[in-house]
């Protein structure tokens, strides 16, 4: 039986058909459902580790379970329960925890240092007196974080380049300004 629940009031929707909008009888919120064949698929159950035999290696975490693989990180024997397959590698829970930040397919969030550098360089143009302080910060920020953005997709470095160019132009401008100031005084 298909039970479509309203997202807002949790009332049961009377679905008139797939791929058409149906209104919730409770709150009148319009909702449309698209179904795929995986709807009938059960969640995959994890493998059950086998009991260790006399001539078999035992799992490092479960001495009574038979080892099924070697951890690609530390080389420890691991059972089916401990084995974590990620990016064609098999890791034990400890190596997985230690490396999870460096595995691109597990990356859940990232700081966009290139956008930060660009904003540090560009926004002070509106408040130009502070640009003599922010321009070096923008250049430092861009160079320090040049290779530190870990996005799962390819992200260009043009923001870093623009930030460096804008900040350099600001510094040159300040240099010219101060040189004229010093000459004027002399």
């Amino acid at each position: 039986m298909l039970d479509v629940i309203c997202e807002k009031c949790s009332a049961r929707l009377m679905v008139e058909g797939l791929n058409v909008f149906s209104s919730c009888p409770g709150c009148r919120l319009k909702q449309k459902v698209v179904l795929f064949s995986a709807i009938e698929k059960e969640p995959e159950k994890g493998a059950v580790p086998e009991a260790v035999l006399d001539d078999h290696a035992a799992c490092i975490n479960h001495p009574d379970k038979s080892a099924a693989a070697l951890c690609d990180g530390c080389g420890a024997y691991i059972c089916n329960l401990c084995e974590i397959a990620v990016e064609e590698r098999h890791l034990c829970p400890r190596c997985f925890n230690n490396n999870s930040e460096n595995i691109s397919s597990l990356n859940k969030s990232t700081v966009l240092h290139d956008s930060c550098a660009l904003n540090i360089a560009v926004i002070p143009i509106l408040l130009w007196p502070i640009s003599c302080f922010t321009a070096p910060i923008a250049i430092f920020w861009a160079l320090f974080h040049w290779n530190k953005i870990k996005t799962p997709y390819k992200r260009g470095k043009w923001r870093f380049i623009v930030a460096c160019l804008v900040a350099t132009a600001q510094l040159i401008g300040w240099g010219i300004f101060f040189s004229f100031l010093v000459r004027g005084k002399l």
């Binding site: 679905v15 449309k32 990016e87 904003n119």
Partner: protein, 174 residues
């Protein structure tokens, strides 16, 4: 470790979430969607594997009506102020007429683009909300996502399947 391997993602579409630079992007690769929600300074990612997606529920949000009412109200206020300003101040008339024009453009865009739409992607493990923009374009974006799925799963189930599922004792809750 093959840690920094970048997958080749194809950008399917982008939707603005708010006026402050927040946006969401859906990218697709061979076996999954990558949903990116960005605040402008940081990004959060969700991955939806094609073989795991059981259903998509498109929800048409209702707060658009409030936004349109608010915009129309602002427009009327500015129009009134502009009308009053005509009497004795040309600069005031110009400023408020410009504001009025901007509000009119926003109001027309809201009416034309339709209500904001979010899609709930149901897998066997979770239900996740993704923002895909306004209704008018959202339908096209959803079709793009479904087209990507067709390589792995069968085409979306039709109404005959709906009746078949209704007859099964097991409850498929969406």
């Amino acid at each position: 470790m093959n840690e920094n391997k970048k997958q080749s993602y194809k950008k399917l579409f982008r939707a603005n979430v708010n006026f402050l630079g927040g946006n969401s992007v859906i990218r697709a690769t061979d076996d999954h969607f990558l949903y990116t929600e960005s605040s402008g300074y940081s990004e959060e990612y969700k991955r939806f594997f094609f073989s795991d997606i059981q259903a998509m529920k498109m929800v048409q949000k209702r707060d658009w009506a409030f936004i349109i009412n608010a915009v129309i109200l602002c427009f009327l206020i500015c129009f009134l102020i502009a009308f009053v300003s005509i009497m004795d101040d040309e600069v005031g008339m110009l400023v408020f007429s410009a504001i009025t024009m901007v509000l009119v453009i926003v109001a027309v865009y809201c009416l034309f683009a339709g209500a904001p739409v979010e899609v709930i992607i149901k897998t066997a493990y979770s239900n996740d909300k993704i923002m895909i923009g306004r209704k008018r374009r959202a339908e096209k974006k959803l079709r793009k996502m479904i087209a990507s799925l067709e390589a792995v799963q069968n085409i979306p189930l039709d109404d005959a399947e709906l009746y078949r599922l209704d007859e099964i004792e097991k409850v498929f809750r969406i």
